[in-house]
Structures are given as structure tokens and as C-alpha cells.
């Protein structure tokens, strides 16, 4: 299609942006192992020794360990709750003839784009009245509520195209509806489950706004909230801040490396993010 020479500029452009992405991340990683003095002296080089002090300091002294566990609980809880209730709702809405499927699906769909942050004052009052401030359960409920519209949309789209013989045969054998959904339908829409799980997990793990307004007690802070405090609090201890950034992105990095293809396709297909 093109000569090798004509392709050269294209190569350079792509390589330059790759460097723009990788260089900051490289600096982040090597700085984790340096003392603050060494960060100033030796900007780009490898650390003199691969000391783990910054990591242990961040984990224990700055108590990132507790934040990490909180984030895991909230993310796991929100992913499971979102998948279960959304699959339950999408099943009849996409496969039964109810007369009100259209309206109900529309109601859920309208939530995909809603700017929920603008409702945070009333949400705060509601959470306070329900005694859900300073509570991981409260965060799980709010995140599930925000992610349910997207999940119902994805599940309904995948379930709608399954042949109706599937559930009819099972119903004939006397299987209950719950069993049909969780043992027959849901295993058939595994790609939908993984899309919902991946994008819910990313959104919840990364969110900063809701912990900021709902969580005041250090014991319940999630990782992004803790990081936002560290940046100011440990301003002079750059090594510790870099290490805490590395710790907080590690789960996402692991997930990203193992699921890069699904994420690429999910985003390319319709901008599944946000």
C-alpha cells in the first residue's frame, strides 16, 4: 500500500506518543524505589537499590493498606450487586411480553447519561437519614444504583437475541424462573457479564467524588480519597506518594493486562466508559 519510506513518519508519531504515555509511568515506577533526595539527584535512572521502604511506609505509616481493603470491598460488593439485580431486571424486560417492557427499559436507559453528581446534596441528606454516611455499604448501594442503567442495557441487549427454546425447554422440565436465569440464561451471556464486571470495577475503583462527600472517618476511606490527601500531606516525601500511586494502580494494571482485548472491544463498540 505504501513504500517503507513513506511509512516512516507515521511510525515516528506513534512512537512519540508511546513515549509520552510510557515515560511518566516509568518515572512513577522507578521513583517508588528512591528516597526523595535520590529522586532529585537521579531523575531518570534506575534506583541505586531496589528498596521497598516507600511501599512499606505507604502501606503502614500512611495506612494505605486499610484504604486498599476498603476499595476492594466496595468494588467487589458493587460489581456483584450490580450484576445480580441488573440480570434479574433485564431477564423479564428483554424476554417476556409484558406491555410495559418498553417504558421500564426506557426509564433505566435514561439513567446512563444522568449527571448524578448534581444530585449529591439530596443524596447526602438521604444517606444521612438512612445512616449510610461513613459506611462502605452506603458506597456499594450508590455505586450499584449509578451502574445499574448501563448493566441493564447491556444484559437486555445480549439476552434479547437468545433463542426462546432455551427457557421454554427448561420451563417444560419444571425449572423455576430464578434457576432458568442463573443456570441457563446468564451462562449464555458471559461476554455481557464480563463487560459489566470490567467497566463497573474500573468506575468504582477509580471514583473519588462520592467517598469525598460521604466518608469522613479514616477507617472507611477508599484509595482515591486517601491519595488525594497524601498529595498534600506528604508533599515533601515524593517517594511515598509515588509508591502509593503505584499501589493504587496495581489492581487496575493487572486487570488491564489480562483483559486488554475485551476492554478495547467494549470501548470501541460504543464507548462503554462513563
Amino acid at each position: 500500500m505504501q513504500t517503507r519510506l513513506a511509512r516512516l513518519p507515521g511510525w515516528t508519531v506513534l512512537a512519540l506518543w508511546s513515549a509520552a504515555v510510557l515515560l511518566p509511568l516509568y518515572i512513577l515506577v522507578v521513583s517508588c524505589f528512591k528516597t526523595t533526595a535520590e529522586i532529585y539527584e537521579n531523575r531518570l535512572g534506575l534506583p541505586q537499590s531496589w528498596s521497598l521502604d516507600n511501599f512499606t511506609n505507604a502501606w503502614t505509616r500512611a495506612d494505605l493498606g486499610q484504604n486498599f481493603i476498603n476499595s476492594l470491598i466496595v468494588t467487589g460488593g458493587a460489581v456483584v450487586l450490580t450484576i445480580v439485580v441488573s440480570a434479574l431486571a433485564a431477564y423479564p424486560l428483554s424476554r417476556y411480553k409484558l406491555g410495559w417492557n418498553g417504558i421500564m427499559l426506557g426509564l433505566f436507559l435514561s439513567g446512563i447519561m444522568l449527571p448524578i453528581r448534581l444530585a449529591s446534596v439530596e443524596l447526602f441528606t438521604l444517606m444521612r437519614n438512612l445512616d449510610l454516611l461513613d459506611s462502605l455499604t452506603g458506597l456499594i448501594l450508590v455505586y450499584s444504583a449509578i451502574r445499574i442503567p448501563f448493566a441493564v442495557f447491556i444484559f437486555a441487549n445480549f439476552m434479547r437475541v437468545l433463542p426462546s427454546e432455551l427457557d421454554e425447554a427448561a420451563r417444560m422440565d419444571g425449572a423455576g424462573e430464578t434457576r432458568i436465569l442463573f443456570q441457563i440464561i446468564l451462562p449464555m451471556v458471559k461476554p455481557a457479564v464480563s463487560i459489566v464486571a470490567i467497566f463497573t470495577a474500573i468506575a468504582v475503583w477509580n471514583d473519588f467524588f462520592f467517598p469525598l462527600i460521604f466518608i469522613f472517618d479514616d477507617r472507611y476511606k477508599t484509595v482515591p480519597l486517601a491519595i488525594s490527601v497524601f498529595v498534600g500531606q506528604f508533599r515533601t516525601d515524593w517517594g511515598l506518594v509515588f509508591a502509593s500511586l503505584a499501589i493504587s494502580m496495581a489492581p487496575i494494571l493487572i486487570m488491564y493486562c489480562s483483559l486488554a482485548r475485551q476492554i478495547r472491544e467494549g470501548v470501541g463498540a460504543g464507548g462503554g466508559m462513563k
Binding site: 506518543w17 504515555v21 448524578i116 498529595v231 515524593w238
Partner: protein, 299 residues
Amino acid sequence: MAVLFVLPALAIYGLFVLYPLAMSLWGSFFTWKGLRMLDFAGLSNFARLFVFPSSARLTGALWHNVIWFFGIMVFQNCVGLLFAWLLFLRDQGKGNGGAAFFQSLFFFPAVLSPVIVGALWRLLLAPGGVVEWALNGLGLHEGSLTVLGNSQTALLMLVAVDAWNWMGLPVLIYTAGLRQISGQIFEAAKLDGAGSGRMLVSVALPLLMPAIGTLTTLSFINTFNQFDIVYVMQGVQGNPSYSTDTLVTYFYRLAFGAEGAVGITDIGLALALGTMLFLVLSIGTLLMLRFFDRRTVQL
């Protein structure tokens, strides 16, 4: 039976999303004392938004969001489209493809929390940070780098960080869009003697309208919800001197008490701002979807 299945999702979604949102819109027409709703006040909260000092904050924040949006749009639709086109050509050229690798690499920052991205760039761009060191070393700059502390440059820096964060999105959406275009169209254009640049502008671009629409709408929503990066890099006041303030940071200060020297909340004003922002976002999104729908080329 069906109702029982729908109920849990509807209850959670209704209670934690629809109800507070409806109450917020409704509440913007009332006077407030702290977190208590008092009397019906018509449009007086909205009127107060347009009186100094809120008017100055409002127009400043709105203006910053608009600049942010256009900055991101220019970047994504020029650089992002160019990258997607280069990757598409590599795939077409067969053999050494590798598009998937670059796509994944470029998209990686987008799966990171804006808090991490903001904190990382705050350290890199800080006085004494690595960017200052590099620019001084290359002789492009002298002395201490204060781009984040300078009200002339701070907003542009945030837009650049946001662009770095989200670069992978246009690349993914546009390569997916390009792959949906039939190869015969490009073959025909090539037979007519169109070069690669000509093919991008005259052939691919009109056919990419749905993808451009998706991206524009997503960027619009993202930009007008911008909060995390500003909070982490410049503080909730949008320092220096409100030069990086956005509508949502202003909303947050009004709602949760960080506006002004004494940090008093003004719920009525916050809700009025929220209602306006809600209208801007919904009407803007609908208009954009319609605009791009009309311009979609049918083959």
C-alpha cells in the same frame, strides 16, 4: 413474577439516583437554611446566580468548561484521528499490524483514576519536578517551572493532562469506525488516484460522523462534569485565583461549604446551579445527538 425480578434494580436505582435527582431539581425553587428546605422561592435562586459575586464565579467556571471542551475536541479530532488513521493504515498494510498493541498502550491512562493521573502530573510538573529538570536541561526553559501556579497557563495544563488521560478513547472509537467502512470504498478512491491524506479527509471523515458524534457527546459530558483533576492538582478553589474553577468544583463548594473565606454552604444557590447544569447537559447532549444523526452519510 416479572415485577419481583425488576423490583430490586428499580428500587436501588430509583432511591439513590432518580429520587435525589428529582428532589434536587425541585429544591432549586425553594429557599434553604443549611440542609433544611424552607419556602417556595420561584426563580430567586437562579436570579442570585447572576448577581455578583456568584455571577463572576459562574461565568468564569462556565468559560473554563467551554475552553476545556474545545481544547479536548481539537486535540481528539486532530491528533486522535491521525493516530487512528495511522493504525488503520498499518492494519491495512498487513503483516506488521501491531495496531492492537498501540491501542492498548494509548488507552491505558484512561482506566486509571483521574486522581492518580492528576497526582502523578502534579508531581511531574511541580517546581523542582522532572519536567522542569528536562526543560532546563534542553535549554527550553530557565529556572523554576510554575505552570500550575500561573493563572495564564494552569488551565491549559489541566486540559493537556486530561488529553493525555483520554487519548486512547478517540483512537479506539475511530479505529473501530474506520474498520466498519467497506474496503471497496478505499479501493475505489485509490483507483481514482487519491493519496492517503486525501482519502482520510474526503472519504473516511464523512463516513466517520457517527463515531465523531459518539466521541463529541462523551467528551461534552466528561468535560462539564470535570472535578477530580482540578481538585487534586489545583485544589477545590480552582487555584490560582479561580483560574481553573469549573462548574462542578463551584457546585461542590456551594453545596459542601468551601466557598468564600468562611466556608458557608448555600444550598439554594448550589441546587440552582445544579439545575442549570442539568439543563445544559441534557439539552446539549440531545442537540449533539440530533446534529450528528442528520449528518450521518447513508450508503
